[in-house]
Symmetry: C2
Subunit: 314 residues, 2 copies
């Protein structure tokens, strides 16, 4: 950890780890960031917080991973509206001794990957490391809310679920000196990366919106919890045929494990969805079921699917 | 503290304490907030974090005060650009037992006072209470940066300084059972309020911009530190005639104490500034000195004024 003389010096040094905003804009270093207004008709705003020991176990993932995730989780929220991220502000509260450079390298890597410059924020002392990222974004048409699903809509997921939870399980097993269990070649690394460096699916969210998806959410609390958010907001029920399970994960992890950042969406027209994903050049989504008129009822293969998922104990 | 069953229930309950966004917008409860794009040509984005025990001593101020300050400090950043706040997202990380309702009442009071609806955020567990607020805003003309001051510009402050630091000193003295010292009638309450419920000066910031201010900052780290930020960013020096001291505060508190949220700005035309403040119906600002061509040199009444101010020990 380099020695720094104060907050202002640290901010200057960390700024070098982050992508610069476009020419003509104001980023870190003034009272606020300044950008020309977007030509898109809708603006989006979101914030997410990652806490050491709660969302990121620094015995299992690195500070770089934690920084990545703090940005990616917000970008995933933008993706779930069918939008794109524009600018981020990053606030870090933490103890003096931590390796800020590692944290900001991860933040910067995600900011580059998602074309979302970090244009401001705050850096303060606190006993626990708490990283909050807020992201602004835009949509060039009506955003896809949670509340738009209608009975008869198909329900899709952008990929199999449970990889993040399985990765976490394997990371914990390794730390405890236990055998994480056999998986195919390369699968172990994939699962660990799914937990440590989750990917936000911006292109897939855009494709879903262009394919006329009318309700969407990202799987952050677990399919059980998140599909219920959509169903309750839309006033529909759902009947799933199946839950696609990531290679190496369990069904319980696919249903109850969060932070996969796969997108779940509802749309009336299967052909349009297929076309939109094909023309976006992204993997076709998986049709997993259908919305029903029976609000308050959700099933998978005929059996009730509860409101499982991760909640903070407030 | 009411008993709640989980994060989602808590969010629903706390939402009732916050002003609702305008009709047709999406606030708390979807993946992101959604608002129509502003017609203003510039958008602003800022974030500030308030940490229990660092920025808010909960033995001296209330959780409501802490919530207020987390919003007001961001609004003050908008004011320092000559902008207005638009929407806020609020992220609270803290231990399970705290009185979230009190915190959100303070957040809601500031959101109402500054017409800045809270449209989203996060609520997570952490060992320390850390409140991060990010605010988007707009400016209907070029924002006032820190870097625009030129030699010869007048330097104004929107009011006397040191009230917040003096209020903190008096709150601490009372807690310690010491006499905080004599002040005039009503002054004690004013000083304590200046610390506990700082006001962001949005109308004054707008007036300064309309009066052709070309550099501005809010006094958050202390006049010494903040005026140097402007001078260094602009490549000018400064010569102050005086530092206006708030009734009941000391000169050291006026120079070194932060969080007054008074605005300091530089402008070429005294008459325009007077007109703009008069037509905005706000108190006239105080001319305290002038920018010079001697970059790196700052004086008050002929004596050097150092880069004092509060920095976090990073």
């Amino acid at each position: 950890v380099p020695v720094v003389s104060g907050e202002f010096a640290a901010i200057e040094r960390l700024r070098a780890l982050l992508p610069a905003p476009p020419d003509g804009e104001v980023g870190i270093g003034d009272d606020t960031a300044v950008a020309p207004a977007s030509a898109d008709p809708w603006t989006l705003l979101a914030a997410d917080t990652v806490v050491e020991g709660v969302h990121a176990d620094l015995g299992l993932v690195t500070l770089e991973d934690m920084g990545w995730k703090a940005v990616a989780s917000n970008v995933s929220d933008m993706a779930a509206m069918g939008g794109v991220p524009a600018r981020a502000v990053v606030s870090v509260a933490g103890p003096g001794g931590i390796d800020l450079d590692a944290l900001y390298r991860g933040i910067g890597a995600a900011a580059r990957a998602y074309d979302c410059p970090v244009v401001g924020g705050d850096l303060v002392t606190a006993a626990t490391l708490v990283v909050t990222v807020a992201v602004s974004g835009t949509v060039d048409g009506p955003p896809v809310l949670r509340s738009g699903a209608r009975p008869g809509d198909g329900i899709w997921v952008t990929g199999p679920l449970g990889a993040s939870a399985a990765g976490l399980r394997r990371l914990r097993a390794s730390r405890a000196g236990e055998d994480p269990g056999p998986v195919g070649p390369g699968v172990d690394a994939q699962l660990r990366a799914a937990h440590a460096r989750p990917r936000a699916l911006v292109a897939e969210g855009l494709a879903a919106r262009r394919g006329r998806a009318r309700a969407m959410i990202d799987v952050s609390d677990g399919l059980g919890a998140d599909l219920w958010h959509v169903a309750d907001a839309s006033g529909v029920g759902f009947a799933l045929d199946r839950v696609p399970v990531a290679d190496g994960a369990t069904l319980a992890e696919a249903i109850g494990g969060g932070e996969d950042y796969q997108l779940v969406f509802c749309a009336p027209d299967e052909a349009r969805i297929s076309e939109a994903f094909a023309s976006a050049g992204v993997a076709p989504p998986l049709l997993i079921g259908r919305c029903t008129g029976a609000a308050g009822t959700g099933t998978c293969a005929g059996r009730p699917l509860g409101r499982e998922g991760w909640q903070h104990p407030w």
